[in-house]
Symmetry: C2
Subunit: 263 residues, 2 copies
DNA sequence: CCATCTTTGTGCACGCGTTCACAAAGGCAT
DNA sequence: ATGCCTTTGTGAACGCGTGCACAAAGATGG
């Protein structure tokens, strides 16, 4: 999911539902692909399939933007690309900074999807002095001391946090104080920000845990209707192997001792 | 967001709403932190704050798991950690494979949050023969040819796709054919999978675009209330013809020129 | 110009998720 | 025991999001 703005003001941005906004990038990508193949028009049905959604939902989504289709024909691809881009604010230039140039930060810096949609990496920032000056993705890493000046000089309003969890809140505070009003947070922490600042969170570990939940359910269902404990003790064709390492001893490096049930 | 299972079967897993499942990892993290500080009990109010949610929501979420609290006191931290871990299936061992060891794949391999919660990286797989054998995060990269045998030998049921978009569907098909039933997809593509396979998507570019949308709104609001409509006022300017590249405005140091609104 | 066919745009109903608000339940002091 | 105080657990109301199904709109062919 990686969901969640903080403090949802129930604003329902000018009438465009949040759920619709979240899908617009999806449509845009599908449309861009069509555009590159010089497809002139597309029906809601086709586009919906390409974007992985239901056609009724797509039409309703578009209806919030206006009546951009032609009945009996479909939607003009180029026109729609422009309208959605404009609605998402991608017709303007968005300088972003990435703070925390570890493995993830470097990956983000190299990620092509950023530049391709109006986002420009204005600077890479890291707290490690040894990193300073080293080129990553063609940009020299700047030291944290310069954070504030970089933000103001470049008019940055979007920041990406890819630091360890411990440093995230502090970095966040500095970003916000310097004028950043939108933050994409990869650190596994809840950030607290003042009113008016948007935070979106991407948490890899959470996504995996959600998958694990469903995976466990699938495994449990196959064998017995419901018995919870003693999960997939038997059967279990391929996947879970032996499963059942229950609440054993230590875990990996990062360690996280499984609690034993108390009283 | 990074949302979306495919094909929502409206299953409502044994009565636990999807939305609740998505929050359980959040609670678990907050609880683990409390546990490490040896806090014995916690109230719904405190825990909710730590997890960044509303206390009523938290209580309702927990009510789906059972009555694990004590009125007048709160919840036993250790006990709750155990219950949630069990519910999420984290008391068992989940071997995962990561396919596509580029910048992102390497970052994922090094990410501590995986190992810490019952997930074990069973193998790193890449299509580039030059990568084969090279150690990343302490594991030798294996070649794609070995994909099927790795899956079956290790009983892997969860796969992470971090390949370029072009290769994603093909990799996905092979994973599924080999027995993987849960996929975490970082490639910017819509994956099609057979019934019974869960896909979760994490798309960095989409998250940024959503932020940009809200950012644009904030900037627009400050200056003028609402005018919008002007654009396609008159009939459909067939394709890109009438499309004026309105936005043109550069951004100042801090500022943000609102898209020009022509008549 | 009319008939037919395609596809959009949307009114409506339904279900999920969120929040409020309160009764029930347990601890604790007296 | 008894009464007070705290906090849970949940019934109920509400709002958002989704999907159905159809009328309106436009294209197309005769």
């Amino acid at each position: 999911m990686a969901t969640g703005r903080t403090h949802r003001p129930a604003t329902r941005s000018r009438g465009i539902p949040e759920a619709t906004v979240a899908r617009l990038p999806l449509y845009l990508r599908a449309l861009t692909a069509l555009s590159e193949r010089s497809v002139p028009t597309v029906s809601s049905e086709e586009l919906a399939t390409a974007a992985g959604v239901n056609s009724a939902k797509l039409r309703k989504d578009f209806s919030y933007l206006g009546s951009y289709g032609t009945r009996g024909v479909g939607y003009d691809v180029e026109y729609l690309v422009y309208q959605i881009s404009r609605e998402l604010g991608l017709t303007q230039d968005w300088p972003v900074v990435i703070v925390g140039i570890g493995n993830l930060g470097a990956a983000l810096a190299n990620y092509g999807g950023f530049a391709s949609r109006g986002f420009r990496v204005a600077a890479l920032i890291d707290a490690d002095p040894a990193m300073a000056g080293k080129p990553v993705a063609g940009l020299p890493v700047r030291h944290t001391d310069e954070l504030e000046s970089i933000i103001t000089d470049n008019g940055v309003s979007i920041g990406v946090i890819a630091t360890p969890a411990g440093a995230a809140q502090q970095v966040c505070d500095r970003l916000v104080a310097a004028g950043v009003t939108s933050i994409l947070n990869f650190a596994p922490t809840v950030l607290s920000v003042p009113e008016g600042v948007d935070v979106r969170k991407v948490d890899l570990s959470i996504e995996l845990q959600i998958l694990a939940f469903h995976e466990q359910r699938k495994a449990g269902e196959e064998t017995s209707p419901a018995q919870e404990t003693a999960v997939a003790a038997t059967a279990q064709p391929r996947s879970g192997a032996g499963v059942r390492s229950a609440a054993g001893g230590r875990k990996g490096p990062d360690g996280d001792v499984p609690a034993v049930m108390p009283a």
